[in-house]
Symmetry: C2
Subunit: 304 residues, 2 copies
């Protein structure tokens, strides 16, 4: 422990092997303290180092005292991430006394961070947006669209059924699920029609909201709506929805898009979706953009 | 405290006045414990009640002991939100012993929640997505677009400059800011071109990623790129970018869209943005969708 990596501070004593294995992209700008006090060199905490030199500690001995923990924290000299189990939350208070703050928390782990590099905090932020999705289910045979009125809103206005995306759920999946839960109508995803971004959204815990409206095709027609969520649910004429004042501005706008789509072709208003493989293993992403006349042949070229 | 609201549990003793003031949407499904033990009725904790009957506690006496706190928690009978300051994190461990878990945390406060209603947890989730935005700055005079190669990626591929949105930042603002920070080019927002959704995104702390590419117009042309972030930065011919293998699939796809836009008009590929007033006071949102020939006259109707 007394070689080159003993520049690694006491809190990081066991990190030395990790340092050796991993490549530092910006090693020059990373400093790890000024010495290794033998007293603290017992392997109390272990962690990993990211490519920016940030250290992440995930494992804490359950019996570590706040005093011991603080002693270790005092020596840190680099961006540090602490994954503190909820049962050891007392350590978060101790870390806060050394400048740490909450980066995020979920379920039974809080993640604290400390930027100790030069200049302003360059740590990546946690998620900032909730995603809400609504589905405009259009019955092309009669020009009607499925709309609901919320039970829990003071002003009752026609809107498309929808709700928040669950973690890991695709936009289209949310639309289809929410439409079914609220109205009993089964449907399938066709395209993305509009995106709204709103900050300080009420009910977003100080975060922002992205609200997307999709075009769906009905697979069933008999309404069986959720009386807990909805006051009314109907198949409404699109022209009527586009004109009524008894709706929200966005619903009205999208109704007008849909009227145009019904008349002139939905390709005029659609953002179509494609699922593509991500660069890293086994994952896919969904890409939405305008489909051009040329895209079909381009796609064929893509797959060659 | 012995009237109807003494059904409110001991932890909620001081809530009774709040209950009286606020309307319960689903009061029938909310139960608040079975009695009020005088011993616990001193006003240790106060809180507010939301329209679903959920209770939020934000103020904790700094000297409250874990034992006292747990005694209070034992009596709760409703969805409860605890906003625990980082300095009192020991209370989070105590709450966890009663079934609470982290809902989210930011800076110096952790928010814990407990769903004690009927059926599955119906508490709204925290933000699930980070938002990344890239800007395709197109010089219409010569058909070139501004591209960079990342310094920190192993495979160097041309891509549009971009990065994560700060909290509260609009999509277009992020694009313009990131383009300037990475390349030194000043630009202005024109439209949204594509949206990618990806789950389990690396670097998103287990959350999802929404990556949007905007079309920007240049306001300056002399590149002065950030050598910390970029290896190379150039104005590249759009046709070349659309054909090269030295790029990412999404960049290639958007380059093809832009080639088409240059030739046939950007209205074929754009989602244009409008800022509209939100229903609640003083806020605005940004709405993106296809602009139709009719939209201009529709907008005039809107403003009447």
């Amino acid at each position: 422990m007394s070689g080159g990596f003993c520049r690694v501070s006491s809190v990081l004593c066991r990190f030395s092997s990790v340092f050796r294995k991993r490549r530092f992209v910006s090693a020059g700008s990373v400093r790890f303290g000024s010495g290794c006090q033998e007293r603290l060199c017992r392997p109390l905490l272990s962690g990993t180092v990211d490519r920016f030199g940030g250290v992440t500690v995930r494992d804490f001995p359950p019996d570590i005292s706040e005093d011991e923990f603080e002693e270790l924290l005092r020596e840190r000299r680099v961006a540090v991430w602490l994954h503190v189990p909820i049962s050891l939350s007392r350590l978060s208070a101790a870390a806060a006394r050394h400048g740490f703050s909450f980066h995020h928390a979920r379920r039974d782990v809080a993640v604290l961070s400390l930027w100790a590099g030069h200049g302003e905090d360059r740590l990546p932020a946690f998620a900032t947006h909730q995603i809400g999705v609504a589905g405009a289910v259009v019955d092309e045979s009669n020009g009607k669209v499925l709309v609901v009125q919320d039970r829990n809103k003071t002003k009752n206005a026609w809107k498309f059924p929808g709700g928040l995306s669950d973690l890991g759920e695709n936009i289209g999946e949310t639309a289809v699920r929410e439409v079914f839960e609220e109205t009993g109508i089964r449907s399938e995803f066709r395209s993305l029609l509009s995106i709204r971004q709103q900050h300080n959204h009420p009910g977003a815990f100080g975060m922002s909201d992205m609200y997307l409206i999709c075009r769906l095709s009905p697979l069933s027609y008999d309404i069986d709506f959720c009386t807990q969520e909805c006051l009314r649910c109907e198949w409404l004429d699109l022209n009527e929805l586009a004109k009524t004042g008894e709706t929200t501005p966005i619903t009205s706008r999208v109704a007008r898009l849909l009227v145009y789509g019904l008349e002139k072709g939905f390709h005029n208003i659609d953002l179509t979706m494609e699922q593509l493989p991500a660069v890293y293993s086994g994952m896919f992403y969904q890409l939405y953009h305008r489909r051009l006349p040329e895209m079909h042949s381009l796609q064929n070229k893509d797959s060659k």
